[in-house]
Every structure is written in structure tokens, then in C-alpha cells.
Subunit: 219 residues, 4 copies
DNA sequence: AATGAATGAGGGTTCATTCAT
DNA sequence: GATGAATGAACCCTCATTCAT
């Protein structure tokens, strides 16, 4: 249920000096992502990761101190892939409903592309406080951006002015991220969702969002 | 992120015959709930539970086979406390918006009352597949009930007929459960939410829900 | 590899007084035999035995002190069934070879009828010293009887006088008991013996025995 | 009651790479043998073995997965020491009775040299099916070799042609292995055999064997 | 930098045995 | 006599972490 890009929270020991060192570190991070996505955080043993990376157990500690730390590195690495627009500022002068739908779709697509990693983040966030923070920070960034969008629409008289934009954003942003989680993680894990296609999903969610804020009909 | 009552999923071995046995089993379940709420599922050791229950380590196995099983018993026990109304059928002839607000408030209050346990369920659901199912079943029950409510409003011409009631319900129900989770679990764990009071929360969420479905203003 | 009847080696606590008590004790012994034959001595849990006997765990200790003790009782009970003739004294004036064959067959048949119990005895004898003694005492009794038979044949000039009857008996008696063990226990457990029929087996073994002692041809 | 060499049955995980690793593995095997011979298989705790080997408990699992597996390694290691001739083929042109006596003596001597280990094997074979197989395979190899010897003697007209060489061999080979077991294991454990010396033992057993097959007198 | 063997704390689990009812 | 719940010692096994090479 992470909601967007956020700056790294953890610092790893010494930034590797040699080429070989940099290479090994890369391997470890890729291996960790592979292993985490396959078996989750808890069941991943460090030795699985080092084996996958083609190095020995001890080498792990040259670059990382804990499993948590390498997970942070994995999440960090995944940041760019997970960039998504949120609800863009309306200064982009498009029709608000079109903008909302586009950004909802973009969010869902980004989530889908990283669903397995999101599942792991969710697992970890419910285990380790430091990742709870990571998850929540991402959520907050997403909420803040959307809150700005809502506020601007309100200022332009295009959205319901009676709701607090922060609060409305946190509720509606949660709606979207929860949808993504249900759709791409929770239910997929059980193989049992009414498999609505992503287009319908994005369209419906965007409509509900726009209606909720009493945003006027698409012209 | 559980959303409602659901039937028990696990059977525990031989229900104790004697009074003493029943007593001990009760103690264990209460102790387990206490321990789980304090340290979570993963960090709970069986010996913590038996110590809390005032019995020896071996006694655990007289009543349960695994930590998962006693957790299931705890959840089972907590079922009644967590009953909540969902969006009641509109046959209850109240103003729809009032009904939605009341049931939203009821949901949030029920969730708040079991927040720590919900946090644990969320942790467990992301670890053990059998509890993923438990969580999802509860969510589904909640969604199904709300879907019926939405369909009835649509039939009476009081709600937007262009959305699929099932899909709309899964999105909006997710919005509510996610809100409850964020508000009472995720953020509380970090101590950092803009502490909106529950009334405002329920009111805003209900308004967004009603608007999303284009339900007419409170007369 | 037990070889014959032997007196009980263990004394059980108080000989049960009441009828009900006697009955329970019987049940326990029968149950123990059933369980031992099914899963062996090591894997038999006292609770398996009491369950099979239809009584509670605690009741066991009314009649026995240890698993070893009830096993001794089982063996004791099985004594009569396992009576077998050995090589009868030649005062029985039959043809020596016929006598040897008859008694070999009798031994093998008796062994076959108690094969599962013999397997357990063998297991136990290699675990618990007190049963090693039980097994060996039975073997000795068998050897002693056969030694007397050999000595008598020697005295009558019908068998090789150059061998020590005690030593010859221990070797040849071992041959028979080993054959029974291989045939009815060891290989059966693996399901892979060249399944010679018991007649051929007895006949061949008896011929080898008689030849070994240079006993004259059947007249 | 094992009867001869047999190929290894178990493979242990990753043969250690470093010298140090090989050394530790050796230590563990030697330690295991020591401990097994002292207290048997069942009473041997892994920690006894690692302590004896001078390493920590966890190290065991670097080289072996179970107590059964290290026992297999011990037996494997002991294979060469236990090579014994069986009844050599008569192509060796010696007097058959001399050959039989020599090989009987060789068998008994080999058995005596590994008596404690044989006792353990016998214990284990009556507990764990995989070792039952090990024991029986060894027995079969011994029987097969002796059967060939008997068949050759029959072909040369030097032995009773009326018995099936396979069956006769299984009976007589059993006689020898049973003798070895009784003499060096079962009775020694109780300290109560009429301590016949090995020469007499071998001589008598060989004579009985040869007589049983009606092999002509030593010229 | 990399190796991989060694460590050992820590938890789960079993089941013979006891004992209050 | 019978019950069956409670006990707790005993042992196995995992795996993150260290460190000599």
C-alpha cells in the first residue's frame, strides 16, 4: 500500500570503491529483489540472497548490515520505476475529470508493475516499524500531492468547497491505494477477484473520485 | 483491514471436557490476545502466552497445535465484538445520507475498539495465506452487504445507475476500511496523524461516499 | 530372535484385586501388543496404548510403571503361544532325521505365528539391556535343549562325536533362529525374500543340520 | 549382523571445500563413531557428537542433516575395515575344507574387530528402515558370494548336489553371521558366554558347514 | 574484497509422569 | 479405580553474524 516515490530512508555503509565492489553490490540488490518477490521478506534468508547473487555469505556484510537494510536498498532502487503522477495540478488545463482518470490509471499501472514488491513492502511495514514509516511517508507524499490538486480545484470553483482538502485527499487517496492493493496483491494472492479489467477499474474509480468532490461533468 | 464478521475457519483439537480444561483454554485465548496485541504475532512466543495464562509450556499443546491456530481462536472470539452494520438496507426508510453516515460511524467505532487486534490481523494476513483468506473473506462480506445497499438505492432511483454496484462497493468499502486502518492502526503506530476527531472523519467519509454515488442531498 | 519359552523376568505392581481391575489390566496388555506390533516399541506412546485399551492415560500407572514393564507383560502373555519343541529327545525313538525335520518345522511355524512380536523383541533387545537378557535366556534354553538332543545322539553313536555338543548346538540353533528371523522378520519388512515355501525351508534346514552332525541317512 | 561390504547408501550435502572443512567433517565422523559405540544410536545426542568433535552444535548441520546421515557416513567409513573374504572361490585350488575354515576365521575376525559398530548397526536396523536395507544388502552380498562357492563345489562334484546353492548359502551364511553376532555382540553385552576361543569357534563352525554340504574329509 | 566454516542463542515440540477430582 | 489436565525436562534445529584465511 505504498503510494509513491519517497526519498531513501537508510544509508548503507561505505559506498563501494572498486568496480568489482560496485558490481557485487548491484548483484546483491538484484538478487534480494528476486528473492523477496519470490518468498517474501520473512522467509528470505540471507544465504538465499547471497547464493542468488553468486557470492558467499560473508560478502553480504561488506555492503549491508541487516536484511532490513538491503530491503531498503531494494526499495530505493525501485523508486524510479514507481514514479507516478498522482492527480496532476490543474494548471495543466485539461478537463479535471480527464486528468483524474488519467492519473488514476497511471497509478494503477505503476502499482501493477511492482505488485510483488508492494506485497513485500506491505508485509514488512506490518513487521518492522522503520518500514511502516517508509510506507506511510510514501502515502503522505501521495496524499499531499492530491490535496494540492483538490485545493486548486476548489479555488477554481470546480470542486466541493465544504470538505477539507487534506482530509478528503487522505480518504480518496486511500481509496485508490487500497484498490490497487486489493486488486493486484491481496486477491491475486488468492486468485479470486472478479477480474475487472484495468480500464474499467480506473474509469470507475475516477468517476467515484470526481463525483465525491462534486466535480462538474466532463464538459 | 478486516471488514466484518465471518465464520470460523479453523477447528481446534478436542474441546476440553472438564471445567478446569475449559477454564485453561479460556485463559490461553485471553492471554494470547493480550500478548498478540502487545508484541504482534511474530514476536509472540508460545512461552509468553502460557506464562501470561499462568500455565506451563506443554499445556499449550493440549489445546492448540500452532500459534496460527490459537490466533484463529482469538479472532473467532473477537468476532461478535466486531459486528458492525455496513450500509444498512434502505428498506429502512431513513434518509440515505443519514444511513450512510451512521453506518460509517459504526464501522469506524467498531474498528477503533479492536484496532490493536486489527493491526495483528493485518500483520498475519501478510504472512500466512490461511489468514489472508480470513481477511479477504471478511472484506468480501462487507463489500457484498454494501453492494446490496447500493443496488437498492439505484433501484429506487436514489443513486447513480451508471456504476456497477459490486465494483462501486468494492472501491468504496475499501475506502472506508483503508481509512480505518490508516487512522487507527498505521498512523497510530507511528503517532503522527493529524488527529481528526472521529465525528469529522465519519461525516466527511460519508459525504464523499454519498456524493460518489450521486445520492441526493439530505432533504 | 527369541527362541523359546522362558519365565517372566519382571514383576508388576499389585496383582489387581477387583474384577474391573483385572479386566482393565487385560485390556492394557492386549492393547499394548496391538500397538507394539503396529508401530514397534520405540514409536509406541503410552497414550496410544491407553487409547487403544479404552482407558485414560493415568490409568496406565495403576498397573504398570514403565513401557518396558508392560512390554514384559506382553511377552509373558505370549509365552504359551510360542512354546515349541526344539529337537526332541531321541528317547522318542523315531528316526533322528525325521525328528529334526519335524522340530525344525515346528520352530519355524511357531516363529511365523509370532513374527511381528519377535520383530519387536528384537528391536527392544537391541535397546534395553533387560530385554537383551530375556532374548538371550530364551536362546539359551533353546540351545540347551538341542544340546541334550545332540549329546544323546552322540551317545547312541548316531552323531559326530568329535564336536562339543554345547558349541555345536549354539551354532546350529543360531542357524535356525537366524533363518526364522531373516525369513519372517528382516526380509518381510523389506518385502524382498526369494519366497521359498516353509516346507522346503524346513526340509533343507533340517538336512543341513543333520548332515552337519554326520547323522546317518534316513533309513 | 551385517555381513559384508556394500556400496554407500546416502549422500551427504556438499563435500566441504576447504581443508579446515574436511578436517571438521572427519572429526565429526570419528566422534560419531566413538559416541555411537559408547552409548548406541538412540542415546547419542547430536551435542555429544559435536562436543566430542570439539565443535559447536550448529556445525553439525554444515555437514549432515540427521543423525541417521552421519551414522551412514560412519558405516561408510568403516566399510574397508570390514572387508572379509567370504568363502573364496574354489578356483583357488586349496582343499575346500581348509578354504572354508580360513574364510570363516577371517569373517569372525573381521566381525570381532568391529563388534561395537555391528551392535549399533543391529540396533539401528531394527529402528530405521533405511538401515534395515543396508544390513540386508550386506547380508545378501555375503550370501551371494557363498552361493557361488557352493555352486562351484557342486559342479566339481565335491558338495551335495541335492540342495539349492542359494538356499543353502542363505541358511549357512546366516549361521555364521548369527554366530558372530551372538559371540561378539549379544553375549558380550551381557558378559556371559562360555568363552570359547576364536580358533575353536572357527574350526567347529567350518566343520559343521562343510559337513552340512557333505564335503569330503580333508585329505 | 571475498570466502565459507564456525558459532550459539533461542524457540518449538514431545510425552512420560503426576495428582487433584 | 479412573480420569485427563498439567507439568517441564530434554533435545532438535535454524540462521544471522563473525572472523581467520
Amino acid at each position: 500500500m505504498s503510494d509513491g516515490p519517497a526519498p531513501s530512508m537508510f544509508t548503507v555503509p561505505d559506498p563501494p570503491v572498486s568496480v568489482r565492489g560496485r558490481r557485487t553490490r548491484e548483484n546483491l540488490i538484484e538478487a534480494a529483489r528476486t528473492v523477496f518477490e519470490k518468498v517474501g521478506f520473512l522467509d528470505a534468508r540471507l544465504i538465499d540472497i547471497t547464493t542468488e547473487a553468486g557470492c558467499s555469505a560473508g560478502t553480504f556484510y561488506t555492503y549491508f548490515e541487516t536484511k532490513e537494510q538491503i530491503f531498503a536498498a531494494v526499495m530505493d532502487r525501485a523508486r524510479e520505476e514507481m514514479l507516478h503522477p498522482g492527480v496532476p495540478h490543474v494548471t495543466e488545463r485539461d478537463d479535471p475529470r480527464a486528468v483524474i482518470e488519467a492519473s488514476t490509471r497511471a497509478y494503477l499501472e505503476a502499482y501493477r508493475g511492482n505488485a510483488r514488491l508492494m506485497a513485500v513492502l506491505e508485509q514488512v511495514a506490518n513487521i518492522a516499524p522503520e518500514f511502516r514509516r517508509l510506507r506511510n511517508d510514501r502515502a503522505k507524499a501521495f496524499i499531499a500531492r492530491n490535496a494540492r490538486g483538490i485545493a486548486e480545484l476548489q479555488e477554481r470553483g470546480l470542486a466541493d468547497r465544504t470538505v477539507d482538502p487534506e482530509l478528503a485527499s487522505s480518504i480518496l487517496s486511500g481509496m485508490i491505494s487500497r484498490l490497487a492493493f486489493s486488486y493486484f496483491v491481496a486477491d491475486v494472492q488468492l486468485g479470486e477477484f472478479p477480474r475487472t479489467d484495468l480500464d474499467t477499474l480506473a474509469e470507475t474509480a475516477a468517476r467515484l473520485w470526481a463525483n465525491a468532490l462534486l466535480i462538474g461533468e466532463k464538459s
